[in-house]
């Protein structure tokens, strides 16, 4: 990059022309090179361009003067820069001049065509690279942000990001300039006082842009910078902005929600729940029907709840509400074919009692394990309730599980009977399950009871059973077994009991999710996940409420359908996953719904998504728990202000800490392992085939967290997924949350791979809108700088683009799969992997 040129291209060209005029017999390339003191190739290029424009002709004996008269060259330095750029690039070049009359456009091109837009910039200047430069340096007011092409930025936030980048790099790019099939690069031209004089740009057909990009960028920045009046722009800065790292906002819930909240005094409740569980949870438990009361509400030794009590979850879900709620709708089911059905408490009670009779007739007895391989819907619900009614243990297996994984789990759990559907709907398609089931049970002594889709056979058969009464069972008698979704390894079987689980989930629904009588609750989680069990089925029925269950993906066929469903069925409280919220956010503005609250569970809810949810749907209720815990453990109830990014505080009955590897409690602000000292009543009663999370009196959640001074917890990701960059320890959620604050990022997954300083961060990014291949390097650079601003001084992360992220069927990102792929390793057990579509289920 020459600071002072010996000869400008224009001067060089003029000298060549003069020389040609002197030598009408013809001139060789090497003569010209010698004349100019430049290389042969430069001379060749200059001559070629003169020939192209008719100033010179190439004859047998070299170059001669052409017939065209040299255009009188304008002499202003800016126009000279335009000429210079043209000669360097041989592409169409434009100059935007700021004049008192407005912006004037000048063109220099092979055929000398004027700019197709005329002499001035269009109103939507932000759709042009030149316009972006003028906008970035304040020469234009912000125009109306109308899309001109699919790539035009219309989001003010995104545009601001882009302009900031232009200011930093001194270069603006536009992929498809003003829908003309052109791509452009532009740079600012400054006057001696640092004032903006105009912008210089180069335009090529969009299809050539990726290949021409580096060449053009170099030429443009050189020409712009070497212009005698230009001062070099500030180099792009990686210095941290004042608000480095995680920005904490404190958001007060709307007064109306707060004032009417079912739980008003959280502090008192928390205190009482720990000091006197008998009084606190006992009082709540007495709302339920107990065949025999418990002896002790909580025994800290055995960590058992309601010991000695006899009850039954199905009885409390159904019979307890009769006859008062006989005609109330307990369940709304929407199957994959779009059929909406309403089931009253009386219908559910009667049908499940009859189905229980049928199952009893098939030899199912209390304590027997019965497997289900049935999609979310009435049949599955009735079966779960029927099994609970006779004290049998239901084991719902996620549909979509492959034959081997299914067989594995059936064997591991010694199921006595399998209830299977012969198909399920995903995105409007009926996916057959019969071959999977037949392959899985081949050779096993396991009877299968089929639900044939599209028929009422199953329900008819159920209704022929002789109704049986609920069987009272001890509080810790197993109600169900669920395999955890296995985001980090081999699945384990979590067992929940009747008594404590009932009290725990019902408490959470009323006091955390704040459900009021007469409201409709909906969770987008499938019935066969713990969220579906606890909040799709049991808790709403325990409280005598109304729950909506949907078989197909919530956003099928479109997010609009989801909003429409919420509005039409008048859902008041929604419990969903950050995955779905991100998907919705990616589709832009939400349609109006009647939602009052939106619970989010399954992964960390990034502040950006939190804010989007609050602005577009309803007040978000972030909460954290695990299959083992049955119900939320950390959350932000309405009684507290929310801190987006922080999941919240321990709920009554739960004690949580952040500790180091040795179990030593760490001070607020320090990253460490999240452990529980005590878990709520919905805590599991047994665990099959896994390591007991309780070690040394602590429940090791496997998550990394940080607690602030006020006792709010922020989940940073799984501890086995922690990324060690130099001295820093970064949770995956931390990095992902930072990536998500960028307006163009829809989803992100971070993993650590071995690098120069310990580990290197690799961030997989799903952009909000498809990014053309050519623009990816630019966006990646942008994101890298963005991440560094948020994460502080670490080795710059690598940014990779993906169309979607691999997820477990319950919606958790399978980071180990991404990592394995990067390192070329064996991905391990992938039975929990979701088909490649980005829909969301919480777990």
């Amino acid at each position: 990059m020459a600071k002072k040129r010996s000869l400008s291209t224009v001067q060089a060209a003029l000298r060549i022309l003069a020389y040609l005029a002197e030598h009408p017999e013809g001139v060789e390339v090497k003569e010209v090179a010698r004349l100019l003191g430049k290389s042969l190739s430069t001379a060749y290029a200059l001559l070629n361009s003169l020939v192209e424009e008719g100033f010179a002709v190439k004859g047998e004996r070299g170059y001669r003067l052409g017939s065209a008269k040299p255009v009188p060259l304008e002499t202003t330095p800016l126009e000279e820069a335009l000429e210079e750029l043209y000669l360097r690039t041989r592409e169409r070049c434009y100059l935007a001049l700021l004049t008192p009359q407005g912006v004037r456009l000048k063109t220099r091109g092979r055929q000398g065509q004027p700019h197709p837009l005329g002499e001035t910039l269009p109103e939507e200047a932000h759709a042009l690279a030149l316009g972006k430069v003028l906008l970035a340096f304040g020469a234009l007011p912000l125009p109306p942000l109308r899309p001109r092409t699919p790539y035009t930025l219309t989001d003010p936030l995104a545009l601001e990001e882009e302009l900031k980048r232009v200011r930093e790099s001194g270069l603006a790019a536009e992929m498809e300039e003003y829908a003309l099939g052109l791509s452009a690069l532009a740079a600012p031209l400054f006057g001696p006082g640092g004032e903006l004089l105009g912008a210089l740009g180069v335009v090529v057909p969009a299809r050539r842009f990726p290949f021409a990009f580096s060449r053009l960028a170099r030429a443009l920045s050189e020409v712009a910078q070497v212009s005698p009046y230009l001062k070099p722009p500030e180099p792009p800065s990686l210095a941290l902005p004042p608000e480095a790292g995680f920005r904490v906002e404190v958001m007060e819930p709307p007064d109306e929600l707060k004032e009417k909240a079912n739980l008003q005094d959280l502090a008192a409740a928390y205190r009482e729940a720990l000091e006197d569980p008998e009084a606190f949870f006992g009082a709540f438990a007495r709302e339920f029907f107990w065949e025999r009361p418990w002896e002790k509400a909580y025994d800290p030794e055995s960590r058992r709840w309601f010991q000695g009590g006899l009850t039954n979850a199905a009885l409390n879900a159904l019979d307890r509400h009769l006859p008062e709620k006989a005609q109330q709708v307990a369940l709304l089911t929407l199957d994959g074919e779009g059929r909406l059905e309403k089931w009253t408490y009386r219908e559910l009670q009667e049908l499940s009692a009859r189905l229980a009779g049928l199952l009893w007739g098939l030899g199912v007895r209390p304590g027997d394990r019965v497997a289900l391989y049935t999609p979310t819907g009435a049949e599955a619900t009735l079966t779960l309730l029927a099994l609970a009614r006779i004290g049998a243990v239901h084991m719902a297996l996620p549909v979509g599980l492959g034959p081997e994984a299914l067989r594995d789990r059936l064997l591991q759990s010694q199921a006595r009977l399998l209830l299977a559907a012969d198909g399920y709907y995903r995105r409007g398609q009926l996916i057959p399950l019969r071959p999977v089931v037949e392959a899985a049970v081949a050779g096993l002594d396991l009877p299968v009871l089929w639900h044939v889709r599209g028929t009422t056979e199953f329900l008819e058969r159920a209704s022929e059973g002789r109704p049986v009464d609920p069987v009272p069972v001890p509080a810790h008698h197993p109600l169900f077994l669920l395999h955890t979704s296995g985001s980090t390894g081999r699945p384990k079987g979590v067992v929940h009991g009747h008594g404590g689980y009932m009290v725990g989930v019902a408490w959470a629904l009323r006091y955390l999710f704040d459900l009021k009588p007469g409201e409709v609750f909906h969770t987008t989680a499938d019935l066969f996940w713990v969220v579906g069990h606890s909040f799709g089925l049991y808790a709403p029925l325990f409280l005598g409420g109304t729950s909506l269950l949907v078989e197909d993906r919530p956003d099928h066929p479109s997010p609009a359908a989801f909003y429409e469903r919420l509005a039409r069925l008048k859902v008041d409280v929604l419990l969903t996953s950050p995955t779905l919220l991100r998907t919705l956010r990616r589709h832009g503005e939400a349609r109006p719904t009647g939602l009052r609250l939106v619970g989010s569970v399954g992964e960390a809810l990034a502040p950006e998504v939190w804010r989007w949810t609050r602005e577009n749907l309803a007040w978000p209720l972030d909460n954290w728990w695990q299959t083992e815990l049955g119900a939320p453990a950390l959350a932000t109830p309405l009684a507290l202000p929310a801190k987006p990014g922080y999941v919240g505080v321990p709920l009554p009955g739960v004690e949580a800490r952040v500790v180091d590897e040795g179990g030593q409690v760490l001070p607020p602000g320090a990253k460490g392992h999240l452990v529980l000292l005590r878990a709520g009543p919905a805590h599991m009663v047994d665990l099959l085939g896994g390591e007991n999370p309780w070690r040394g009196g602590l429940y090791w959640t496997g998550d990394l967290a940080v607690m602030d001074e006020e006792g709010y917890f922020r989940i940073l990701g799984r501890s086995e997924e922690v990324i060690k960059v130099g001295e820093a320890r970064l949770g995956t959620a931390e990095v992902e949350a930072a990536a998500l604050t960028h307006p163009q990022v829809a989803e992100a997954a971070a993993v650590g791979v071995p690098g120069e300083e310990g580990e290197e961060i690799v961030v997989f990014v799903v952009p909000k809108q498809a990014v053309p291949e050519e623009l990816k390097p630019l966006l990646a650079e942008k994101l890298k700088a963005h991440l560094l601003r948020h994460l502080g001084p670490v080795t710059p992360p690598r940014v990779l683009f993906a169309e979607s992220l691999p997820r477990t069927r319950s919606g958790k990102i399978l980071r180990r799969l991404l990592k394995a792929e990067l390192l070329g390793l064996d991905p391990g057990d992938t039975s929990g992997l979701e088909e490649s579509d980005g829909g969301g289920k919480a777990s």
């Binding site: 009769l322 006859p323 008062e324 709620k325 006989a326 005609q327 109330q328 709708v329 309403k342 009253t344 009386r346 009667e350 009588p517 007469g518 409201e519 409709v520 409420g545 109304t546 008048k570």
Partner: protein
Amino acid sequence: MAVEKLLKAEERLWAPEALRRAANLKGFAAEYRRSLEDPEGFWGEWAKRFYWETPFQKVLEWDLPEHRWFLEGTTNAVYNALERNVERGLRNKVALLYLSEDGQEQKLTYGELLDRVRRLATALKRLGVGKGDRVVIYMPLTLEGVMAMLATAYLGAIHSVVYAGLGVAALRERILDAGAKLLIAGDVSHRRGKGVDLRSIVEEAIRDLPLKVIWFQRAYRAELPEGHHDFQELLWNTPPEARAEMVEAEHPLFILYTSGSTGKPKGVVHVHGGYMVGTTYHLRTFFDVKDEDVFWASSDIGWIVGHSYIVYAPLLEGITSVLREGAPDYPDPGAFWQVVERYRVNVMFTAPTAVRLFMKYGPEWPKRYDLSSLRLLAVAGEPLNPEALRWAYAHLVDGGKRGFVADNWWQTELGGPTLGTPLTLPAKPGFAGVALPGVEAAVVDEEGKPVPPGQGGLLVLKRPFPHMMRTVWGNHERYLQYWREVPGGVYAAGDVASQDEEGYFSVLGRADDVLNVAGHRIGTADVESALVSHPAVAEAAVIGVPDPLKGEAIKAFVVLRSGQSPSEALKEGIIQHVRRELGPIATPSEVVFLEKLPKTRSGKILRRLLKARELGKDPGDLSTLEE
């Protein structure tokens, strides 16, 4: 013989002890006494269960034949049925359960019904419907039919439902008489597995009328002319913005047309306040409905039973109400009992004609189903003959071990049960029952003098009750006639009845030229004018002849125009013509061609003579007969 007759008279059918003990109204006699001694206190107390925007100052202003209730009170019956119930926690309770013949169900909760009604009301408002405007509804028995009624009344507009089975002439006449601003019509109704075309009837009936129409289209979506709208499109494209219009208690809620002997149908007017209070009182006390019951009135929204006991009273009380479209014996004679079993119907209200139909098919049909939920079977519409009562008692309520059969008598004009057998009293075959609370009934002669027990006379009511008609639409004079027909300032029901010593009434039949076919009142004049509108017919007369199923069937005597000769084809043509004009229920089952009709000297047709001939009875005094 005398002893046998006496024993027969003493036959009493009781409700089971447990049912009587659990009755909502246990002390019937005391309640009845109080209702007459202190009607204002009695009805005023019941009225307090509802929402009044402005509380009423006076319960009753009684200046016979005018009577006005809940004065200065403002309310809205639909607001009370929907908003009030949603607010008291019934949002997710099933309000309406629609069943089709093929067993398809649609449940609508109180919350959903409110939403739909508010959407539709908004749409009606945008079409210019406001307080006091008349909306004619010609809809099959569907949720949408109910929504149409409620949305109209929600705005304080007045609905006039025309049974979607009545023909072109009947529909047109009612539209014109009511001065309708808008028509809400269905394109098809379903019966016996087939679609019954309503569209062509409507199109013909509204020909040349400047009427806006909302079409509820189930068969196919037709290209609609200007000013016509699609029901579903309107419903879902309109936000639920409308608010209930609070109206004076005496503001008309609906007009329901009923046939009279004079030819022109009478538009009976019921009002928001009194109708709401009175019909719900009887739902609770006479039909003994509990909060969690499933209540099924197997009528149609085109009749008063449908208005009071499919729609208003059950919804006002927050009950689950069943509506089933189609024929009671389709797809098989067990169809009704399957519904009772499947949906655990607790209280059912049907017509004697249906009971006789079930009787015809035999007890094996109800026996196949589990009717254990059925506690009370109320029957009204026409006299319930003793055999039918005994059969129902034996086979539908397990011989009184499980439930009770409650006969009752009332009319479109009366809004709700008037005479009846409450379940705490024994049923007596052949007797409808006693006067219910609020009702003072008597049997009198033509001078208004009471007749001794056991003797026939005219049934009259001596005082009004809140849910009694206020006027005849556009013809208050006709309303006054009800009270002037029999001297003494009493309401003449137009029925012949007798009363026994215990106060039980036996209703024997109409005192005028009105036929009662399967519980539907049909004026002979209506049928006759339909007959003579046939180009081949010169004169016509119709009479009712006993029918084992329908109670009464229509027999027509026809004199042909000169040049026309009797033939089977013509007979069929005439029958089809009447069906088209009046609808299937008013279609003659028999047509006889006569040379001429017996007439009085003044030219009035002597139906009495035709009837006597038909039934082989003494025609009585024939002195006025024209030779």
